[in-house]
Symmetry: C2
Subunit: 444 residues, 2 copies
C-alpha cells in the first residue's frame, strides 16, 4: 500500500445510500460474504456511434485505493442511522480485497463488451458500484466524443479547453480522457499537475479590453512571453487585429487565434493576409464552439490546430456513457458459479463469467467482438494470433497494478488507443449515426 494513501481524502461516501442498505441487510441475513461477480457494460453506444473508447480506469483505481471508512465517515453514518452498528464495525475494516479485470484504458468497446469484472464478496463488490460507474460513465463519455474529434482533425493537433463548461473536478477528468483519446494538450493546469498532460493557452479578450488599443495589448503580451505566442485577433475587426498582431510581434509571430465568425471563410482570408504580411509561418488556431462536425467541415481550409471546449467535456450530445454495473454470477453452495440476470424485458443482461476477445482477419482488421461465456480464461481457446484477448488484471486480491495508474498509466492508455485504432474497420471513423462497427457475439 502506498505510504501517501492516508493523506488522501476518503472516497467512500461517493456512494448511493442503497449500496450501504444492501450491505446492511446482507450482513444481517448472512449473505454478505457470498462470492460474487459484478460486471460493467453498456447496452448500446451513446449517440449511435460506431465504437466507444474506455476511459477512467486509472482514475478509478486511485479512488478505490482511498475507498475506506474513517472516523468521519463512520460518525456521519451512525448519526444519520444509515446502517446498524454491526455494519459500521464491518465498514471500519473495509478495504477492497477482491480482484478486478477489465478492458485496458484506451481500448475500443462495443455494446455489451464486459468492460470491468469485479470478483469479490457481495458486500465488498456492491459498495463500488456507484463510484465505478461515476468514473467510467463520465470519462468514457468524454473519450467517446474526443476520439471522433481526433479522427475529424486528420492529424492536426487538438487542445481541450472546456474546463469552464464542466464542474471544476470533472474538468480535470475531461482533460485526461480527451488526452487518452488523442488530444494533444489541455488548458487545465490541475490536469497538467495531476496527470502530466501538456498545458496551453495565452490570452482571452479581457486582456485586449484591459488596454487602450489592441496593439498595446499585443505588445504587452509579446514583451512578456515572446513573439512565439498566440495572439487573439477577433476582439474588434479581424483584419485589423491580424495587422496589429504582426506589427507587434513581427513575422515571427507564433500563431493567431480566431474565436468567432464564419470560420471556413475567415480562415482562408486570415491565411492570405498573414502571408501578404510576410508572416508565412504564423499558424492559425480556431476555437469557436467546435465539435467533430465543425472540425470535419474545416478540413479543407488552412487551420493549423483546434481548441475544443463545451462539446468535448459534455460528450458532444451524450454526456454519460450509459454503462451499468450488474451482478452476473454468485458462487453456489457447491462451489460453482450460478449465472444470474434480471428479467425485465428491455434491460436483459447475460449472466455468468465472460472472457472477451477481438477477432481479427488475416489483415489484422477486427471483424467481431467475441465474448466467451464460461468459467474464465482457463476454459477458452483464445489468445491465438486472430483473437486478441481484451482483459487485463487491474487488481489482484486487493493489490492494484500500478502500471495502470498515475501519469504513466495515462500515457500508456493514450498509446494503447493510438495502437488499436488502426485495427478497426474503416467505417469506424464515420461521424454519422449508425450501427456499431463490430458485432458483439456471445459464445458459450
Amino acid at each position: 500500500m502506498n505510504p501517501t494513501t492516508s493523506r488522501q481524502a476518503s472516497t467512500a461516501l461517493h456512494t448511493d445510500r442503497y449500496e450501504l442498505t444492501m450491505v446492511d441487510a446482507a450482513i444481517q441475513h448472512g449473505t454478505a460474504d457470498t462470492e460474487c461477480m459484478f460486471e460493467v457494460f453498456a447496452r448500446r453506444l451513446p449517440g449511435a456511434r460506431r465504437y466507444g473508447i474506455v476511459a477512467g480506469t486509472g482514475r478509478l483505481l486511485d479512488l478505490i485505493r482511498n475507498f475506506r471508512f474513517d472516523d468521519a465517515e463512520l460518525s456521519w453514518l451512525r448519526e444519520n442511522e444509515v446502517v446498524t452498528q454491526r455494519t459500521l464495525d464491518w465498514l471500519a475494516d473495509y478495504r477492497f480485497s477482491g480482484s478486478i479485470w477489465g478492458y485496458r484504458e484506451g481500448e475500443a468497446y462495443f455494446p455489451n463488451s464486459p468492460l470491468l469484472v469485479v470478483e469479490s464478496s457481495f458486500a465488498e463488490g456492491v459498495l463500488l458500484e456507484t463510484l465505478a460507474l461515476s468514473v467510467l460513465n463520465y470519462d468514457s463519455a468524454v473519450a467517446n466524443a474526443a476520439t471522433r474529434m481526433v479522427t475529424a482533425a486528420r492529424g492536426r493537433p487538438l487542445a481541450e479547453m472546456g474546463s469552464r463548461r464542466a464542474h471544476e473536478q470533472s474538468a480535470v477528468a475531461a482533460a485526461r480522457a480527451a488526452y487518452i483519446a488523442g488530444f494533444d494538450a489541455t488548458s487545465n493546469l490541475e490536469a497538467g499537475r495531476t496527470w502530466g498532460i501538456p498545458t496551453m493557452g495565452t490570452a482571452a479578450h479581457a486582456f485586449t479590453l484591459l488596454h487602450d488599443s489592441e496593439e498595446e495589448a499585443f505588445r504587452a503580451q509579446v514583451a512578456a512571453v515572446g513573439s512565439n505566442t498566440t495572439l487573439l485577433v477577433d476582439t474588434y475587426d479581424v483584419a485589423d487585429g491580424v495587422r496589429a498582431a504582426v506589427a507587434a510581434a513581427g513575422p515571427e509571430l507564433g500563431a493567431v487565434r480566431l474565436d468567432s465568425g464564419d470560420l471556413p471563410t475567415l480562415v482562408v482570408e486570415v491565411r492570405e493576409l498573414l502571408d501578404s504580411l510576410g508572416a508565412t509561418k504564423t499558424k492559425i488556431t480556431v476555437t469557436n464552439d467546435l465539435d467533430e462536425h465543425a472540425i470535419a467541415a474545416l478540413s479543407a481550409v488552412p487551420v493549423d490546430s483546434y481548441g475544443v471546449g463545451t462539446s468535448v467535456v459534455t460528450g458532444s450530445g451524450s454526456p454519460a456513457a450509459g454503462m451499468v454495473y450488474k451482478l452476473v454470477a454468485r458462487r453456489g453452495d457447491d462451489g460453482g458459479w450460478i449465472p444470474v440476470a434480471k428479467k425485465s424485458p428491455e434491460k436483459i443482461s447475460i449472466g455468468g463469467r465472460k472472457y472477451p476477445v477481438r477477432r481479427l482477419n488475416s489483415a489484422q482488421i477486427a471483424v467481431e467482438e467475441l465474448i466467451y461465456v464460461g468459467d474464465g480464461p482457463e476454459d477458452s481457446d483464445s489468445g491465438s494470433a486472430l483473437e486478441r484477448p481484451l482483459f487485463v488484471q487491474l487488481v489482484n486480491a486487493g493489490v492494484i497494478d500500478e502500471q495502470f495508474t498515475g501519469p504513466e498509466g495515462t500515457r500508456r492508455a493514450r498509446e494503447h488507443r493510438a495502437k488499436i485504432l488502426s485495427e478497426l474497420p474503416a467505417d469506424a471513423s464515420r461521424l454519422g449515426r449508425g450501427d456499431p462497427t463490430l458485432p458483439t457475439t456471445f459464445s458459450s
Copy 2:
C-alpha cells in the same frame, strides 16, 4: 478567515493556463492593478427554456476561500515555466481582496441577467474566471433541468439519484443543485454529509439476484430495515414481485419501486394489485430514465414519488448553462469607469456596471428583467415596491458573507427559489421550447 481554511486543498490550479499568462503579461506591463469589473451572464437560456435558476454560488464562495497558491502550486508553476518569478511572488500572496455581487442562489434568471459582478484589480479578478464558470455553468445546468421536473411533478416528491451518471464530484454538486431547485432528497451520501441534504435509497436488483428467490431477498431486507421500506419489484415478473413484497412485509409495506416497463400502464396495474392485497397505503415510486416530459406524462396515474437519474445530473439535454465571464469596465486615469466590450458580431456584450431589478405588476407578477446600466445602485431609482432588486453582496473587500455558504446557505437558496417561483408568469412552467418568460431590458 475561517480557521479550518488551511486544511482544505487549494483550488487555484482549477484554472485555465491563459488566466495566469494574462496576469504575467499584465504584471510586466504595469496593468495588473487596474481596477476592473467582470460580469457573468448567459447570452441565451439553454434548450429554449423559459427561465433559468442560479445555482453554484455557495459552492463557489467556498472554493474562492481556498483559492491560494501554496508551495506545491508555486513549485509546479515554476518547474513548468508557466509564469515568471515576479508573478510567482505575486501569486504567493494572492488572496481575493475584491468585492462580488450577484443574483441570490435559487433566483430565476434570463438572457443577459448579470448573474455575478466581480470588482477587483484585473489580476485578482481574471484569475477567478475559469473556476467561477465551472461552478456556475454546471450547477445551474442541473438546477435549470431540475426546476422543470419539480414543476412537472405537481407536488409529488422527487429524489435525485443520478450519481452514477456524473463524475463522482459533479454528482455531489448535482445533488445540491437539484435540491435547491426543489428536489426533496438524494441518493448521494457525500451530498448528505457536505450539504445536509436528506438521503434515500434501499436496494438494487443485485440484492434480489444475490438470493435464491425474490421473496427471500425481500424478507432479508424487511428483517434488516423494517416493513416501512421500499422494495424493488421488477427483477422478474412485476405482479409476482408485488405479491412477494406484500407477503414479505405485510400490508404495512412502505413502498414498491418500478425501474422498467411501460410506466403509465404498469403503475395503474400495480396500484390495483396493491389495493387488492390490502396494501392500500403502500406507495409507488418510479425511477426508469425519467425526465421532465416523462414525469409530466405520469401526472394522471397514481405515482407517489419519482427518482430521477441521468437527465437531471446532465442538465436534460443542456449539460452546461452557457454562461460567460467578461470584462465589462475598467477604471480610467480620471477615476471613472470606462465600459469595454468585444465587437465580434455574434458575441456582443454590453459594457459597464449593471444594477438589475425584476419589475412586477400590481398583482406582484414579474413583467420584466430590467437592467440599469450606470455607476451603480446609488444612481438608480430602484427598490420600489414594483422593482425587486436582484443583487446581494456575496464578498465585501475579500470577506465572504457566510450566510450564503454551507448547508445553511443551501437551505436558504432552496427557500428562495420556492418563494420567487410564484412571482413568475404562468407560462414559465411550460415545458415546450419557447421564448424566455420575461424580456430583458437595459436602461441607461
